[in-house]
């Protein structure tokens, strides 16, 4: 009689690998081959995790066709099985996995579309935080303002891509005209993905604003973020950009 720990280790191996005779010997046939009984569990484990990935990456699924999606998901699940029960957190490595998966490597935009969908998933489940009251910064002296670092709402992801991934996403929504075409050479995008009230969405940011905000998200001070944005565009107006940032509903705290 195997100890429970050993039985569960063998069962785990069987879910992702071949049948082991020692495990099959512990299963009562009841009119069926023990291997057929084990296969019911193996099938459910793999298909239910595939369904989780499909729910998180629906546009990727539509882009590659469902049958191919289930094939790549199966390979992903075997390489990166979930390590915890909250499955809305499952799939973080999927965009990079797609990029390296030989059969779909020719779809250069696929990884970035997957990153967009992952960012939307993060935004949906990120903890709802109280926003910073901009009045709390009103008394700061100029040198202090330059050294400010700002804490972003955990729902925010900033993502850029050489592909028009926002358009690709939109034309692959259920109910959208399926024959709408996207010009892949239309140029890249700089996106902000986040929660707006009870909904999740994204919008394009001006490249200089994008640089400003990504520098701040990385934990750098306001002065450095402004310098980086000015380098991106001489038109950058720091006062307006800071005002927009503080009234946009994305900043939850600051440090001096």
């Amino acid at each position: 009689m195997p100890a429970l720990r050993d039985l569960q280790a063998a069962f785990l191996r069987a879910m992702f690998g071949p049948d082991e005779p020692e495990l099959l010997e512990t299963i009562v046939g009841d009119g069926l081959r023990p291997a057929a009984r084990l296969q019911i569990y193996r099938h459910h484990v793999l298909t239910s995790l595939t369904d989780v990935l499909q729910a998180t990456f629906p546009v990727v699924c539509r882009l590659v066709d469902e049958r191919f999606f289930r094939y790549v998901a199966d390979a992903y699940i075997r390489q990166y099985p979930p390590e915890a029960p909250c499955l809305f957190e499952y799939g973080a490595h999927f965009p990079a996995f797609l990029a390296a998966f030989p059969p779909c490597r020719h779809l250069a935009y696929l990884e970035d579309v997957a990153r967009l969908e992952w960012a939307m998933n993060i935004a949906l489940h990120a903890e709802v935080c109280a926003l910073l009251d901009p009045a709390k910064l009103s008394g700061l002296a100029a040198p202090d303002v330059a050294q400010l670092t700002l804490q972003f709402d955990p729902s925010v992801t900033l993502l850029d891509s050489p592909w028009p991934i926002d358009q690709i996403w939109r034309v692959h929504q259920v109910g959208e005209e399926v024959y709408t075409t996207v010009d892949l050479n239309a140029g890249g995008v700089s996106l902000e993905i986040r929660r707006w009230e009870d909904d999740v969405g994204f919008r394009r940011l001006d490249p200089a604003i994008y640089t400003f905000r990504t520098t701040l998200v990385a934990g750098h001070a306001l002065a450095r973020a402004a310098a980086a944005a000015l380098e991106a565009s001489q038109e950058f107006d720091c006062v307006t950009a800071l005002h927009e940032l503080l009234t946009d509903g994305v900043i939850i705290g600051f440090t001096l």
Partner: protein, 287 residues
């Protein structure tokens, strides 16, 4: 233990799934209570914010699917802490989990996997149930699983195993009638005898759901996919369960091929009529 479990006054509830949340908030259907899967709300984001609005109008039950009470390894304390935070926030009418395992070697298998019913397993599950009840300060309701296999070295019939778990830990039971039916059909067994072997006074909640009828190697296998109306055989068993356990709060579950909310509500109203009949008839429940 701070908290009592369910009361018969709850009546019939439905499992609240993501596609129905907005409609439930907008239309407030006449449903006794709602049950949610704990793991879907541990992110404290948009889904939890919506659930908190739902909670203002309906009693809630929190149904865990990921604690893996039957794992030989120690419980995942991070997960247990997240469950505790969720329960502190929602203050549900009851909290339930499963007689199963889903974690081994640090991998979560997303399935309620079968246990050998042995003294070793009983000691492990009882220890994990006790620990969970201490942390949560709730009396857990433990659900019987649907099974597709049994182990040669099991020595304790499942209902007796659950009865002994109740005796050792003070937990209650969530009696899933569809699971009893599915397991008895798949493994051989008499579902009425199973119901009769359960400790009646421990039953705090009943689950009803549909199943799929599949074929494996020419033999019929029932799959507990929660993707169809409750079958006639399960309604009949439900009647027997109510006669034996009394008017226990009952839940309609539907997780795949999720239908319109109205279809779920109609199933709930069917169950409600059964509950009312049981209430009017009185019952001769014995522990």
């Amino acid at each position: 233990m701070v908290h009592t479990s369910t009361s018969a006054k709850l009546g019939v509830g439905i499992g609240l799934r993501a596609p129905h949340v907005a409609e439930v908030l907008a239309t407030r259907p006449a449903i006794g209570w709602l049950e949610v899967h704990a793991e879907n709300y541990m992110g404290a984001g948009v889904p939890l914010a919506a659930l908190e609005r739902v909670r203002a109008d309906y009693p809630l039950s929190v149904h865990g699917v990921g604690l893996s009470l039957g794992s030989a390894a120690a419980l995942d304390n991070r997960h247990l802490s997240r469950l505790q935070r969720l329960i502190t926030r929602l203050v549900p009418a009851c909290v339930s989990e499963h007689l199963s395992w889903s974690i081994a070697g640090g991998i979560y298998l997303n399935h309620l996997l079968p246990l050998p019913y042995t003294e070793e397993t009983l000691a492990i599950v009882a220890r994990h149930v006790m620990h969970t009840q201490e942390v949560l300060q709730y009396r857990l309701l433990i659900e019987n699983p649907s099974s597709y296999l049994r182990f040669t070295h099991s020595t304790i019939p499942e209902p007796e195993f659950l009865g002994e778990l109740v005796r050792r830990t003070g937990c209650g039971l969530l009696c899933d009638i569809n699971n009893i039916y599915v397991s008895c059909c798949n493994l051989g067994g008499d579902p009425v005898a199973y119901l009769n072997a359960l400790p009646a006074r421990a039953i705090g909640e009943i689950h009803l759901a549909g199943h799929a009828v599949n074929d494996a190697d020419g033999q019929t296998i029932l799959i507990d996919d929660h993707g169809a109306p409750v079958s006639e055989a399960v309604w009949d068993l439900y009647g027997h369960a109510l006669a034996r356990f009394g008017p226990v709060p009952t839940l309609i579950e539907w997780d795949t091929n999720i239908p319109e909310l109205a279809v779920l509500c109609a199933e709930a109203h069917t169950a409600e009529r059964c509950l009312q009949r049981a209430q009017e008839a009185g019952y001769a429940g014995v522990a």
